[in-house]
Amino acid sequence: MSDPALLATPLLWLTVTLGVFEIFDTLSKRCDRHPLLHPVLWSTPVLIALLLASRTSYETYKAATFPVSFLLGPAVVGLAVPVWRERARIRRLAIPIVLALGAGAVTSIVSAVGVLALFGAPREILASIAPRATTTPVAMAVAGQLGGVPALAAVIVLFAGVFGAMVATPLLNVLGLGDYRARGFALGVAAHGIGTARAFQVDATAGAMASLAMALNAVVTAALLSVVALLV
């Protein structure tokens, strides 16, 4: 491991990243995609340990894995496809969708920033949690633009997704909310991609509503925070 030439090529860390992720992804698949076994949750600490053990700087790692992270942008643009596919449903349910989305997005931002402010967190930490309900790439971009820490935003979003996916079913049952449209939509707004994956496991309608909610919330939360950023 001491050959600097090999350590410096992007090939090494790209291969290691795909390999480590693949191991945990297989494990997650075997366990029926349980939220607690989300592959990012496990591959991140393993990769951090490998970087520390090999004394590799994050700078080097980040540059090496650029081909993977670059795909985030086109993936976000691609969220347009489910929105377009569900256009008939959007038109039919326009009022509930607009009201629930607006209420959910505002609740998410205000409660996350509000509670964290009680702990005396500075602005850059608050900016990292504000977009916590959006899908990870959007949260990272928004956090970065608000002066937050993209890595922190990524991990907060991940945690919110895992937690939301786990509590949604029991919580919504307690509230007596049986409608799969409302349940799926709430999961998509509150817990983005991981919530959406969970919704698809429960019911196809809930899944469609969740992916729609995730895509719309990415735009609404980003827009709301843009306005806030201009004012503050």
């Binding site: 929105v83 509670v115 964290l116 919110a160 909310l177 735009v219």
Partner: protein, 132 residues
């Protein structure tokens, strides 16, 4: 996904067109982001542009569906490099870890409850025909 299973050579140029469309939308989004200095991320603007494009030129787009489906299915691994960036955030985590967990838990619970209740209320109040 059934199209991806037997990709024929003549399918590749169409695939490139779908990739081009995604990149072009993102590029235009980034340009708008920079020119207007709108804090909305370029990719999000690109997504809105793509919805607009799909509405302007409506036709069947099986390849675009396959390409975006593939990207969405592999979204998780794309943010691993960013999450590894936590390696540099040790002090922040040890100082605000409890606050971050509390705020995330509270916000996720509240958002789930508020969104679901508002959706149900609005649905009952403005019940659309044929969807009840």
């Amino acid at each position: 996904m059934r199209i991806a299973e037997h990709v024929s050579p003549c399918f590749i140029p169409v695939m490139l067109r779908a990739i081009f469309l995604l990149l072009a939308c993102q590029l235009a989004g980034e340009a708008i982001h920079r020119i207007t200095s709108l804090p909305l991320p370029g990719a999000v603007i690109g997504m809105v542009l793509l919805v607009g494009w799909l509405a302007l030129v409506p036709r069947e787009r099986p390849t675009l569906t396959v390409v975006t489906g593939w990207l969405t299915a592999h979204l998780s691994i794309m943010f691993v490099p960013a999450a590894v960036g936590l390696i540099e955030e040790g002090p922040v985590l040890s100082r605000y870890g409890v606050g971050l967990v509390t705020a995330t838990v509270a916000s996720t619970l509240l958002t789930l409850i508020v969104t679901a209740l508002v959706f149900r209320w609005a649905f009952a109040r403005f019940a659309p025909e044929g969807e009840a």
